[in-house]
């Protein structure tokens, strides 16, 4: 029973909360109502069995609870300007009248009037159903800091009049970019080691691709995340980072790769050639054995022109080094303005090492070590440094 309810919670929380916010027009009230509905479910479902449509049951219950509360507390109703809702009669909500409003919720949470860290936290809280404690832990801040961040964000949505809607066409491209960026950011946190966040990002990404199927970048982002995530098991061995070339391919998740490729096909079918779709193509090419480095380098070139990102240029240098040799890669690296980025120096170290310029390689790795923060990456660099020895 507890497991069944947990599963419903994970699958349905975002959708139920979105429906309740859409109806009540208030985040806090809706969150309380949703929590209450799940609490009642925990009690009743064990006794009466799981209803035929758990989602509709939970929305109905949450909605009626909130209405009761509003009736009891008229001043609250006035304050939240919910008198209209309070007058609504108790109803049984069925699938036909209750729309999926997760997209509205996602756009509200990722509104540019909120700071990015608030967008991320709010998205994880409302759509992912993560607890404040879980989000705080994932972003290495104290629980009270995270609680405050969430409270402030919700307060701003209400006070500043951030609309609960899918933006109109002329705003959509910018706003969608913000939503995709938040999902990608959550994924990256997960990729850096916190696997639960990666799963959360995948869940959000597939909801997004399902809700806006005509949007190539939604498929592109999902494809890219799936393709990267498929190598998750192989990226660490005994807690140590393993580079692509050294990874045990049997640990790659074939099903996820297939899903990722299918999603990529969908992106390309709707003429996707945006930054996420491009990155997905690049991720797919990395899976081939051996990868077509020349093509990867060309695609990184296109991506660099499109985004102007020096990190992309760094990646291009790596691909060019594979395709044309270390010298060609080094030539590109020389012009990448990322002196404070440990990857730049680590890459230089690797390429210098391949050219037998061990003393310079040694210095480059030392520079990378001085800049690295993550412990697993530090150990990887130390191993590399030890392997070239001292000149």
């Amino acid at each position: 029973m507890v497991d069944a309810l947990d599963a419903v919670f994970r699958e349905e929380w975002g959708r139920i909360l979105a429906a309740l916010i859409g109806f009540l027009g208030d985040f806090d009230l809706a969150e309380e109502a949703a929590q209450e509905a799940f609490a009642i479910a925990a009690e009743r479902w064990g006794r009466d069995g799981i209803p035929a449509n758990p989602r509709a049951w939970l929305v109905t219950t949450g909605r009626n609870r909130a209405l009761n509360r509003l009736r009891r507390d008229r001043t609250l109703a006035e304050k939240t300007r919910l008198l209209q809702a309070a007058h609504a009669s108790e109803v049984t909500v069925d699938e036909t009248i209750f729309r999926d409003e997760r997209l509205e919720l996602l756009f509200t949470c990722c509104h540019p009037a909120l700071a990015v860290e608030s967008q991320v936290a709010l998205t994880l809280r409302t759509l992912g159903g993560l607890s404040t404690t879980e989000i705080a832990r994932a972003f290495l801040v104290t629980e009270s800091t995270m609680a405050q961040r969430l409270v402030r964000a919700k307060r701003k949505i209400k006070a500043a009049g951030i609309p609960f809607r899918v933006p109109p066409a002329h705003l959509l491209p910018d706003r969608l970019a913000a939503v995709l960026a938040v999902v990608y950011l959550i994924f990256n946190e997960g990729y850096a080691g916190r696997g639960d966040l990666a799963s959360e990002a995948l869940r959000l990404g597939s909801a997004l691709a399902e809700l806006i199927p005509d949007e190539p970048e939604a498929h592109g982002l999902l494809a890219m995340m799936l393709l990267h995530d498929s190598r998750r098991q192989a990226r660490f061995r005994d807690g140590e980072l393993v580079l692509l070339a050294d990874q045990d391919r049997s640990l790659w998740d074939a099903e996820e790769i297939a899903e990722g490729r299918a999603e990529l096909d969908r992106a390309l079918a709707v003429r996707g050639r945006g930054p996420y779709a491009l990155q997905a193509v690049i991720a797919a090419l990395h899976i081939d054995d051996p990868p077509d480095w020349a093509r990867i380098a060309a695609l990184y070139g296109e991506l660099a022109r499109r985004t102007g990102s020096p990190v992309v240029e760094l990646n291009r240098a790596i691909a060019v080094a594979e395709a044309e040799g270390p010298e060609a890669g080094l030539a590109i690296l020389g012009a990448v303005p990322l002196d404070d980025f440990h990857y730049l120096h680590a890459t230089r170290g690797e390429l210098l090492c391949r050219l037998g310029r061990t003393s310079e390689a040694h210095d480059a790795y030392e520079q990378a070590l001085a800049l690295v923060h993550d412990d697993t990456e530090r150990r990887l660099l130390e191993r590399r440094l030890a392997s070239i020895g001292h000149s």
């Binding site: 509104h111 500043a160 009049g161 609309p163």
Partner: protein, 118 residues
């Protein structure tokens, strides 16, 4: 809901500065036309014209003593240049209007503040 839009000129040249002469005639006309369009937007209550921040005087009271200093409370280039009120459905509408106020594109910024409702 109701918003106050606070117009911060930043480095935007204004007609009371010499720098205004460096602005092309076309751009000068566009600035006036844009303000006119903004003020005519349904829901807008235009603010009154403020003298430039250089004309400001800041008053503080410490231990019962009134302290008067020359200039705005914040740094000169961060000082308020003007304001207007806007009745709109939501923040997105206010953001769209703010983006049309000339200093937003000329080196300043528009602060959108919701007005408290009771």
């Amino acid at each position: 809901m109701k918003f106050m839009l606070l117009i911060h000129q930043g480095t935007t040249p204004t007609p009371d500065q010499e720098a205004w002469n460096t602005v092309s005639e076309g751009e000068q006309k566009a600035v006036y036309a844009d303000y006119q369009a903004v003020n005519k937007t349904p829901g807008v209550t235009p603010g009154m014209w403020l003298q430039p921040p250089e004309m400001a005087t800041t008053v503080r009271v410490q231990d019962g003593q009134t302290l008067v200093t020359d200039g705005p409370f914040v740094a000169m280039k961060e000082a308020l240049g003007g304001y207007l009120f806007f009745e709109a459905d939501d923040l997105d509408a206010a953001i769209e209007l703010a983006a049309k106020i000339p200093p937003a594109r000329l080196g300043g910024g528009i602060e959108v503040r919701p007005i408290k409702e009771w």
